[in-house]
Symmetry: C2
Subunit: 184 residues, 2 copies
DNA sequence: AGCAGAAGCGGACTACAGTCCGCATCGTGT
DNA sequence: ACACGATGCGGACTGTAGTCCGCTTCTGCT
């Protein structure tokens, strides 16, 4: 990438973060972003491909940090703890992240092709590995897919129909579910 | 509703069904729908509120039929069978419906307020009732929410990242999950 | 330094969802 | 039968995501 291009990319991300605080993810328009960065709209799309791509880029660092913590951080999230405990910790962290950055994640979710799918793939694979390590038998690929769906559920809109479900209850529910699934 | 209005409503639904076959849900635009029905665009929005509302209306009959089958049809979907068997049957039916009408459901999902949320609420409640009947202990509201998420998962886009998961495997995975959860 | 081609840029343009409001049509009460 | 308020209608208008292409700027090479 050319030097000016990467400077522009940074300028766009900076502008995006600022707008995000000012108006929120929902209201962030690409025209506004381009204008705020003092650039043309074409440039925004060249850099990020789509509106969702902007949010994926903004989330990138957090995702990377999370993956690092999972792969080589301290237990129980990282390696070393009992697999079922790691499953529980993984879900609790993920749900907390969703509660904090749900707006960004929702805005990024529309992106099918770019990195939007990668975190989900990572999560699914990790769940599968932990299930296997926990000695769970069965079609672990599908089971991991199902558990991923549970973790992503709070992102989806039908949550609005269940306003009584606090993050705390969801997290405890996750722990309960994991223990049920992993029961010998 | 005035007679002409309800005639127009039917004309719109007929046109929508035709366009659906011709171009698919994804490509169905509101301008095209209005034109195909020989009506103005404003009329479409007056009748259905939003693009998603059109799809909700198209799904309405199927949803009603499904709910009837659940509430008063023959077992194991309807009442009379063992609750765990009913859970299993419920999920299998729902997943099959998703596989068949996924495009419509996805297009209808954007609707938060209208009937879009109602089928989810019905499903969640029904799952909760069956879990209780099966003697499952714990926070059944959250557990039902989680199981709903599993059933809705195939709608979400990240499915594309898991192309190997056939409807058959998903359905068997559901049955497996339900039995794990309901184990005494 | 200067050149050539690659990479990048901007903003006009398209397509689409959703809004708005002046005009037309309906149907009810008399 | 008619009048008049309520209901509905159309299509121009707005705001936004995403595309396109002629022009500009960079950069590696000589």
């Amino acid at each position: 990438m050319r030097a000016d291009a990467s400077r522009n990319r940074e300028a766009l991300l900076r502008a995006a973060r600022r707008l995000l605080e000012e108006v929120g993810a929902e209201e962030l328009s690409m025209d506004a972003l381009a204008a705020a960065a003092g650039l043309g709209k074409g440039t925004v799309f060249r850099r990020f491909g789509s509106r969702a791509g902007v949010f994926v880029a903004l989330l990138d660092e957090s995702e990377r940090t999370f993956q690092q913590a999972v792969l080589s951080g301290p237990p129980p999230l990282g390696p070393g703890a009992d697999p079922v405990e790691r499953l529980e910790a993984f879900g609790r962290h993920r749900l907390r992240f969703l509660a904090e950055r749900g707006d960004l994640l929702r805005a990024a979710a529309a992106d099918l092709d770019r990195t939007g799918g990668a975190p989900a793939a990572f999560t699914r694979l990790h769940l599968q590995v932990l299930l296997r390590a926990a000695g769970v038998r069965g079609d672990l690929e599908v089971l991991a897919f199902d558990l991923l769906a549970v973790l992503e559920a709070p992102l989806n809109h039908y949550v609005r129909g269940a306003p009584g479900l606090s993050p705390q209850r969801l997290a405890d529910g996750w722990a309960d579910l994991v223990h049920r699934v992993a029961r010998p």
